[in-house]
């Protein structure tokens, strides 16, 4: 490495494979110095503006926020906070179109600015030289800085990677990327010209944290003014300004490393593994602002260019500013079929409409005319000319990747190193057949990623399924074991007691158990009772004569008071009575259904009345549960109400509610008001709804027109 550094110091430059020389069009926007885009009335801040996951929201709608105030709080390194770009009020937190090629929406915070731009209290650190590394890195993270060059990778993670290397051995190289190789974009160029001192201070800061052996500032030779401005500020023997020949994509991180060192970063590994850290000049400026001025990342330089703009140039734009506002401000004169590209002409994406916010990674807004950037002609057959392979800066075979991606042979495409493609677009630029090669790769890549995710998910599902099976099996064994143990214990006990015939005793016990079981299992749950009732109702409904419905509901009303009085008996359990009644009713319904004649229904319901008292004594349950009684009463009430509603005759309602009145006092004080237990009522209603739906489904199966379930109104 040392001999390499020596070679670099001596001015040796290498080259990367391929590359292209598209027309630059940089003059269009590089002639005027940086200006302020101003404060828009509304800021739209996507929660996620970087690679990783969004941080936790820490403001609410209606909150007043100050400039620089964090809106989200990170809880892990891959989470990067966002900040209010200006003071104002949070008016909404909702899905909004974000700066993404898909034009899809993601959660955003909408801030109505107040025009004051009043800052939160700031804590500038002009004395950063005395601060510790951890302090500085924390500040950089808290400032929400993510690679401003375009990728949006969280800067502090990158720094920590390099720092980890620097702790093992001295970090050989810090590379400052000022190449800006994409045509049209001049944001970095202009920043270097106008803010060279701040950028160099940012470099000093990083040098303080990482102590690199050598720092290289790489600038393409088409930016002589920027080179001069930076050179004037660099007063350090370990910091060199490297002037590179202009070639696209020399600004790509890996390509830049190859130009400057002649070495390639191993595929899939970060450059920090080689002891190299690359940072974009814009990021360095942001780092300096965050540390020295305590200004989090709330604005960035955006190149506004293209020959459909009246005043192309570079401007400081608050993050969250809408493209619409900027386009008006810079005088977009749209032509038919106007494209607005976020990013450069090589890697940028078109925006579907103007209501898209500028985010941390938006370096350029390009509004070209058809004349300057003609629309792509129709794709024709590949003639295998191989110019794409000559242009590819990653030494791939774009043509093979294209065939395999197109044919869906994704595995083979991957063997051809699909994931080493940096999507620079050089192949598609040279393609004489106008094939949108990169598009094929992007689709293949996302398909592969999805496939992989699905596979992982299937694997997890398999595991979870096996786990569940195992758990169930263990539970079963455990149950068996317990039962056996209990049996044995009982047998032993009996033996001890002696005298009695154990078999006869067991039989008797079983009988007793069976008798008891019928009640406790069913009665345990008021819901079950409700289910029974609902079933009965359904049966009635299934009779399908609309005029029967009132009768059936009347039946409910009838049944209820009968159940309720049972609770009056001190020893009797109202709950059990209700259950028994329900069962009896259900039986009756079944009989009725079997008869299948609608006129039978009333008869069956009348049957209920005598059945009830018979059922009640059968249940000799221990103590009455006042709460359960209340629940039952509430359910009954709800039923009655519903019945009344379903009958749809207003005059019935008073009757039903009247019905309630006697039920209430009988129930324990727990049920104070008809509305006492709305949850239970809701449950019953839900069950009834479910049943009704099922009935409807069955009816539909019978090819009759599906009757509208009476409950559908309530469910809404």
């Amino acid at each position: 490495m040392n001999s390499l550094l020596e070679q670099i110091r001596k001015g040796k430059l290498w080259d990367f494979h391929g590359g292209i020389h598209p027309e630059e069009h940089k003059q269009l926007s590089s002639q005027t110095s940086l200006l302020e885009a101003g404060l828009p009335p509304l800021l739209v801040l996507p929660l996620k503006q970087h690679i990783g996951s969004p941080a936790e929201l820490c403001v609410q709608v209606g909150d007043r926020v100050l400039t620089g105030q964090p809106l989200t709080a990170p809880s892990s390194p891959m989470q990067v906070p966002i900040h209010a770009s200006s003071s104002g009020t949070v008016v909404a937190i909702e899905e909004h179109t974000v700066a993404h090629p898909s034009g899809l929406s993601e959660p955003c915070i909408l801030i109505q600015t107040d025009g004051q731009d009043s800052w939160r209290p700031r804590d500038p650190w002009p004395d950063y030289a005395e601060r510790g590394n951890d302090e500085l890195l924390a500040r950089i993270h808290q400032a929400g800085i993510a690679g401003l060059g375009g990728a949006g990778f969280p800067t502090d993670i990158k720094l920590k990677g390099a720092q980890a290397y620097a702790q093992r051995e001295p970090l050989p190289l810090l590379i400052v990327n000022g190449c800006e190789c994409e045509p049209y974009i001049t944001a970095d160029d202009r920043l270097m010209r106008d803010e060279a001192a701040a950028i160099v201070e940012g470099i000093t800061l990083l040098q303080q944290i990482l102590r690199p052996q050598l720092t290289l500032i790489a600038i393409e030779d088409n930016k002589p003014e920027a080179i001069a401005a930076i050179r004037a500020q660099v007063k350090n023997a370990h910091t060199l300004v490297k002037v590179l020949p202009t070639k696209y994509p020399s600004g790509g991180e890996r390509q830049l490393i190859e130009i400057l060192t002649g070495r390639q970063v191993p595929s899939g590994k970060p450059p920090s593994e080689m002891g190299i850290l690359v940072q974009n000049v814009g990021t360095l400026y942001a780092i300096r602002q965050a540390v020295v001025e305590d200004e989090p990342l709330i604005r960035r330089v955006v190149t506004l260019t293209g020959d459909r703009l009246a005043q192309p140039g570079n401007a400081w734009v608050r993050l969250g500013t809408s493209v619409r506002w900027l386009m008006q401000r810079f005088g977009l004169d749209p032509e038919p079929g106007q494209r607005v590209i976020m990013g450069g002409p090589m890697m940028g994406f078109t925006l579907p409409h103007a209501d898209v916010p500028v985010v941390k990674t938006s370096n350029c807004l390009l509004a070209p005319s058809q004349r300057s950037l003609p629309s792509r002609d129709e794709e024709i057959n590949c003639i295998r000319c191989g110019q794409c392979a000559e242009a590819c800066p990653a030494s791939l075979l774009p043509q093979q990747l294209y065939w395999y991606s197109k044919a869906g042979e994704l595995d083979t495409a991957e063997q051809y190193r699909l994931f080493d493609c940096i999507e620079c677009g050089a192949c598609a630029w040279v393609c004489p057949s106008n094939i949108p090669l990169v598009q094929y790769y992007r689709q293949a890549k996302s398909q592969l990623r999805n496939q992989r995710q699905e596979q992982a998910q299937a694997e997890r599902a398999k595991q979870r399924f096996a786990d569940k099976q195992q758990r169930l099996e263990e539970e079963r064994l455990e149950r068996d074991r317990r039962m056996q143990a209990a049996n044995e214990a009982r047998r032993a006990q009996l033996k001890d007691a002696g005298g009695e015939d154990p078999v006869a005793a067991a039989l008797a016990r079983i009988k007793a158990k069976q008798a008891a079981q019928a009640v406790p299992t069913v009665a345990e749950d008021p819901i079950a009772a409700a289910v029974a009732r609902a079933k009965a109702k359904k049966a009635a409904r299934e009779a399908e004569a609309p005029e029967v419905t009132p009768a059936a509901t009347a039946d409910d009303a009838l049944a209820n008071p009968e159940a309720s009085p049972a609770s009056e008996a001190p020893a009797a359990d109202p709950r059990q009575a209700a259950v028994a009644a329900a069962i009896a009713r259900a039986k009756a319904k079944k009989a009725a259904r079997e008869a299948d004649a609608p006129e039978v229904t009333p008869a069956a319901t009348t049957d209920d009345a005598p059945a009830n008292p018979e059922a009640s004594p059968a249940s000799e349950a221990p103590a009455a549960d006042p709460r359960q009684a209340a629940v039952a009463a509430a359910i009954a009430r709800a039923k009655a109400k519903k019945a009344a509603r379903e009958a749809d005759a207003p005059e019935v309602t008073p009757a039903a509610t009247a019905d309630d009145a006697p039920a209430n006092p009988e129930a324990s004080p727990a049920a104070e008001a008809p509305a006492a237990d709305p949850r239970q009522a809701a449950v019953t209603a839900a069950i009834a709804r479910a049943k009704a739906k099922k009935a409807a489904r069955e009816a539909a199966a019978d090819n009759s027109a599906p009757p509208v379930p009476p409950s559908s109104k309530e469910s809404d």
């Binding site: 899809l104 999805n450 599902a461 979870r464 399924f465 569940k468 839900a686 479910a690």
Partner: protein, 187 residues
């Protein structure tokens, strides 16, 4: 007589040599064959939905290995059938069974209607539903395989299968479907 012996000896020697070669090859180049059941299981979507009539994906894989029809996997749809057909070297059956690539869905509990009956929890083959008796349940979206099994047991019909919304992360660059020269949407 002697050349009879020679011939016999020669052949015996040859047999010995070839036998040794074969024996060596059998050990040296032994193929640790991935049992066919594992291979089939790997192709199945692991939704454990049981719609094939078997309790889970692996039992169905075993059944296929034993000659059951390969077109019973509903969540896998046609792509899975084709893959199994490829693997087993058979023709994919035509015109019956599940067809078309299914849309990936997950279960969703309408919480206002959930009564906390735990029936869906018991039905879920991959434990993707959390909740307790009489408490509201919810679906672990990342774990849900979209198998549908929880929908029917629900007494209140509160479970719905919903399509996952597309996000920028799951977007697959379908932009190419849009012709480059779109209809002029310019105002």
């Amino acid at each position: 007589m002697s050349h009879f012996l020679v011939v016999i000896l020669l052949f015996a020697l040859l047999a010995l040599v070839f036998g040794l070669i074969l024996g060596y090859a059998a050990i040296r180049f032994k193929v640790e064959a991935d049992p066919i059941v594992d291979q089939i299981d790997a192709l199945l979507p692991q939704t454990q939905c049981g719609q094939c009539g078997y309790p889970g994906c692996r039992p169905y894989a075993e059944a296929v290995a034993n000659g059951d029809a390969i077109n019973k996997c509903v969540p896998g749809g046609e792509p899975t059938i084709n893959k199994i057909a490829d693997l087993l070297g058979v023709e994919p059956p035509q015109g019956e069974g599940p067809v078309a690539a299914p849309v990936k869905k997950v279960a969703f509990i309408h919480e206002d209607r959930c009564i906390g009956c735990t029936k869906c929890i018991q039905a879920c083959p991959v434990d993707a539903i959390v909740g307790a008796a009489k408490l509201m349940h919810t679906i672990l979206r990342q774990e849900c395989t979209g198998c549908d099994l929880c929908v029917d047991p629900c007494p209140t019909n509160c479970i719905e299968m919903i399509e996952l919304p597309q996000t920028p992360d799951t977007w697959q660059w379908e932009l190419a479907r849009i012709p480059v020269k779109v209809v002029d949407k310019h105002e």
